[in-house]
Every structure is written in C-alpha cells, then in structure tokens.
Amino acid sequence: MHFPLSCEVVIIGGGMMGLSTAYRLAQAGCDVIVLEWRNIASGASGRNGGQIIQLDGRDKDQKSISQRLIYAKENTKLLDELYEELDYDFELNRCGSFDVAFSKKDAEELMELVEIQRKAGDKEIEFLEGDEVQRLFPVLRKDVYGARYRPTDGNLEPLKLTYGLAKAAKKYGAKIFTHSKVDKILVDHIGVTGVSIQGRTIKTKWVVNATNAWASILTPEVDILPLRDVAVLTEEIASIPPSPIETIIGDELVFTTTQTRSGNVLVGGRTEARFRKDQYKEDVTLEELRENVSIISEFFPSISNVNVIRAWAGTMAFTADGFPCIGPMPGVKGLIISAGFNNGMGYVAITGKLVSEYILHNGKTSLPLDPFDPARFYKKKIKWPEPYNYSIITKFLGRL
C-alpha cells in the first residue's frame, strides 16, 4: 500500500460511521484517509438488516426520550438528504416499523410506552390495536395484541448505503485503503501524532476510531462490548409488507425482521450466549440457524414454507448504557471515538455530520455531543455478564 506520509484526518474503520464522517470531511475540503482492515462494510455495516428505527429499545425515561428524539429527527432528515445527494440508490423506504405484542401484558406495556413517548413530545408514535396490526401486516400470527408503530421508520440497504458513502467520499478526494490494519494510534503528551500501520507511520493531528465493536482494541480506555447476532435471509417473496418488526417477548426472545426492496425477508435475533472473545465469530451454528428459521414459522405461519437462502453472523456493539460513544477521548487531543452502535441507521447520518463539525470547527457542533460523551465511561471497569447474547445484554442494561 502506498500510504501518504501525513494527512489531516485518519479515520479507522471502513464501515458506515467512518465513511459517513469521511464523506462530510472530504466534502468540506479536508484531507482525509480511511484505513479499513478488511473490506468496505465487512463488519456490521454489511451484515445488519438496515432497519431504521428512530427510537429503539423500551426506554421509559421521559427526559432521555425527548433528548434522543432531537438526534433521531435530525438523523432522519439527513438520511433523506443523503438519499438525494449520493449517486447511489441505497433503497431507502419509509415504510414504518412495528414493535409487536403477542400477549395482553406486553400490549399494556407498549401502550404505557407510547403514552410516555407522546408526553415526551414524540408526536408520531402510536399504539395500534391487534386487528389494525393484522390489517397492515397480514402474514403476522393471528394472536397479535397490538403494536407500537411509527410511520416514518423504515429500512434501507446498509451495504449500499456504505458503498454510496464510500463512493461520494472518494469523489471529494478522500482516500480509502482496504486490507490496511492499523496497529497503533500514536500519541504524545499533548495528543494524537499519527497512526502506525504495516511498519509505517502516517502523521496526523486527528484520528477517528470508527471501528465500533472492535474499538476497545485500539482505545481500551473506553469499554465497548462486541455483540454478535445472526441473520437468516429468505428468497424473494411478495411484500409482507417490508416494514421492520422488532419485538421482545417475555425475558428471552428478541427478534427482528425486515424485507428488502427485492423481496428477501431478513430474520434475526436468536443467538447462543458466547464469551466476549467469541463474539467476533462470523460463522453460524446449526442451532442458531434452526432457531432463527423457526421464528418464521412461529410468527409468520402463512409463509412458513418460504425458502431460506443465506445465513450469517455479524458483530454490533454496546456500551454500558446502550447509547453510542461519539466524541473526544479525554486527555488525548485529536482522538475521537465514534463507536458502540447497535442501531446504526438511527445514527449514521447525524454521526458523520457532528464528528466532521467537531474536527472542522475546533470542537464546535450544531448539536451538543454531551449525551454521547466518551468521558462517561472513561477508564470505567464494567462487569459484563459472561457469556452473553442479545437478550442477556439488554436485560443487563435494563432495556428488557
């Protein structure tokens, strides 16, 4: 690789977060390079379902909700703009999303949540009765009790979004190096001086660690937890409709489905508990495959004969409060963390915008980064459960 000797900004990680930032920086005329250890979108960016769920989880804190809404709304607006700007159709579809209840108890909880959200200023969210959900989503199991529904949610093709961002970043002069693994972020007593890669040094004053689930390897001061999930994909079928469904049933089962533009239905969520070191494994066990496939027959009985054509695993990330880390690393000038995402579509556009603003305007951003400040976890020892999977972690975080 012919790496430059120096540049203004080094972004580590060729996923959608890193490239979204690279795109904004390059557009502003900044000399930026992206270093990716595998290929573009090899991690979670190319492996997730692309569900756009603006307010994920079952957060009941009104203050937190109203704060999150500001970022979610801005992200939504920016995604729409990106869809126009990028010379790449990433299949954005604002088809709404459902959080479905299959018991009276769950329906009551959703009703309560909707009420809290509405009080917090969320005007879009609504509760749909079971028969209304049935009407909108006819392939769903008949015993559906209701759903939390947001009409402006939807889905997109995350791999295409990431490629679109890469293409646009390159158009504005960003240099993207794939199969280029950064060994170390170089710092002196003041701050960042460069990165060390394949025995060479690239000098820079700014480094963005956008490696998400892998972030703690380069910056261990902030503990970001990798979490592996499994997806199975069906053949192309007619619209079921495409709207993403995310649901939590009892204490055990969390699953998600979404349908791509071409008609493939992606189903995921049931995984075995694994140890932290094994969360990066991208193979799928037979049990996981079977369990995820069984979600289809369990919850979508009328399409239970559909053919499953692919299965894979990918690794997303969690922080100790479930929200990402976006902002400066305490004590190291020029080092930005942009990691800890488990709902990438809800943050991709706004993250690129805010991180690029921070770099271009000396720490000033159009929306405050405080809620995502990495300082909240700086050198904090977190006692994560071992082994774990999605259900165990969300329960640990109090999100179930």
Binding site: V139, E235, E236, I237, A238, G263, S302, N305
Partner: protein, 103 residues
C-alpha cells in the same frame, strides 16, 4: 409429448395416473413425476413471468438449481417444479412476479 416407445428404454411402464390442475385446467400426470415433466407433457412450457420485465420463463436446469421453473403450488409461491413431485388434486398456478401467498 410423452415418449411412449423407446428403442432402448422400451414401452412406457404403466404407472398410476393422477390429475393436477394448472391455471384451472385439469391435466393428466403420473404419480411420482415432477410437476415440470407433467406440464411439458401437456404442452405447457411457460411456467412464470418475471417481476420487473414480465418476461416468460420455463424449465432450464431441471435439477433444482436455477429456480427458473418456480410456480405457485397449492398456494405456495416459488416452488421448484423440476424437483417437486405431483400429487393428485394439486393446484398449480403460473407465477406472476413473486407470486401471492395464500393467507
């Protein structure tokens, strides 16, 4: 067209006849044979139309690989007719695009 007599394979063996329905038309088939064979024997070669260009498609690989021969069988779309055996009373429909699932 059925090959009734063959210089090497001899006369077509007596097999149990069944009836299947293709787009409302009743056709004769033999127990155990794939749907695609019964359709070709009845002169049906267009099995489906593609979703975007609405182009006709038919049997191509006959080993369940190419999925060009899929049809709606008993309400289930995308059934590979080259590797699915006929059953008496089976209802087969020409698939348009991705087809419709019976709810």
């Amino acid at each position: 067209m059925r090959i009734v007599d063959h210089p090497i394979l001899g006369k077509l063996k007596e097999r149990k006849k069944v009836f299947i329905e293709v787009d409302g038309r009743k056709i004769e088939a033999y127990e155990g044979e794939p749907i695609a064979a019964a359709l070709l024997a009845a002169g049906v070669r267009v099995f489906r139309y593609t979703s975007k260009e609405k182009e006709p498609r038919g049997l191509f690989c006959a080993i369940g690989r190419c999925t060009d021969c899929v049809m709606i069988v008993d309400g289930i779309p995308n059934v590979r007719t080259c590797v699915t055996s006929v059953r008496d009373g089976m209802k087969i429909e020409t698939q348009k695009g991705l087809g419709k699932w019976r709810k």
